[in-house]
């Protein structure tokens, strides 16, 4: 069995999907990053008045801007990886699965970008 694989492919250990344990590892890394960020976001939003000026003033603080960009990037990457597993498990037809995966990835990318751009627009006051 093992004879069919080249020594290089065995050494790299990336398997037929060429990703190895990358998916699993990235899901865990993003979750670790999100532990402090989610607590911070949840309780920050809860503790401040809901008016526009307060929210915008808060987002425009440099550290908040950076943390929000980090959070939005991590959360949509985490969501994309998670949705991928759910789709792979429950969408049986190969064609439907491929299309659903592409759509899911696209939606995650679009909303992730929209979130980051919105935060940056507020931060730079454009």
């Amino acid at each position: 069995m093992g004879d069919l694989r080249s020594p290089l492919s065995r050494a790299k250990g990336l398997g037929s999907a060429k990703e190895g344990t990358g998916h699993f590892w990235h899901q865990r890394l993003t979750s670790l990053l999100l532990v402090p960020l989610v607590l911070w976001l949840g309780f920050s939003l809860a503790s401040m008045p809901v008016d526009h000026a307060t929210l915008v003033g808060w987002i425009a603080q440099p550290l908040v801007t950076v943390a929000l960009v980090l959070l939005i990037s991590a959360v949509f990457y985490h969501a994309q990886l998670g949705l991928q597993v759910v789709i792979e498990d429950y969408v049986a037809s190969h064609a439907k699965r491929t299309v659903t995966l592409l759509l899911s990835n696209l939606v995650c990318l679009l909303f992730g970008l929209t979130g980051v751009v919105s935060v940056l627009k507020i931060a730079f006051g454009a």
């Binding site: 909303f111 929209t114 919105s118 507020i122």
Partner: protein, 127 residues
């Protein structure tokens, strides 16, 4: 897949799922829900980036009774997924697989998610 004559066990419609199994499928469901929650968060951010009036058009809905019910559900889903995710991370490094521990941490996850959700509204009420 062809139907087999073999008995299947556990049969999900009869078998009473252990708490850990319930939490496992709940982790997936809340994960999918939270993806939509993230989309909502981005919509609010985009509205705030657009203008004060666009933002103000959304806020009353979030403050209404149906908005609050939705937000309580979303925040509880968030903290359930959050706490159970930490439980998964602890499993990933090899701890907590004993049946007693698994059952205890399952109950702890639910309790902590409730505490964090209540704490969020306490903080919001005080702020």
């Amino acid at each position: 897949m062809s139907q087999s004559k073999h008995p299947t066990s556990p049969h999900l419609q009869i078998y009473r799922l252990p708490l850990t199994a319930v939490l496992s499928i709940t982790h997936r469901i809340t994960g999918v829900l939270l993806a939509f929650g993230c989309v909502l968060l981005v919509c609010v951010l985009a509205a705030a980036a657009d203008s004060a009036s666009t933002y103000q058009a959304i806020v009353p809905h979030l403050q209404s009774w149906y908005g609050q019910i939705f937000l309580v559900g979303l925040v509880f889903s968030l903290y359930l997924h959050f706490c159970n995710g930490i439980r998964h991370l602890i499993w990933d490094v090899g701890y907590g697989f004993e049946l007693d521990t698994v059952d205890l941490t399952a109950k702890l996850v639910i309790a902590l998610a409730i505490v964090l959700t209540v704490a969020t509204w306490v903080v919001a009420g005080a702020g």
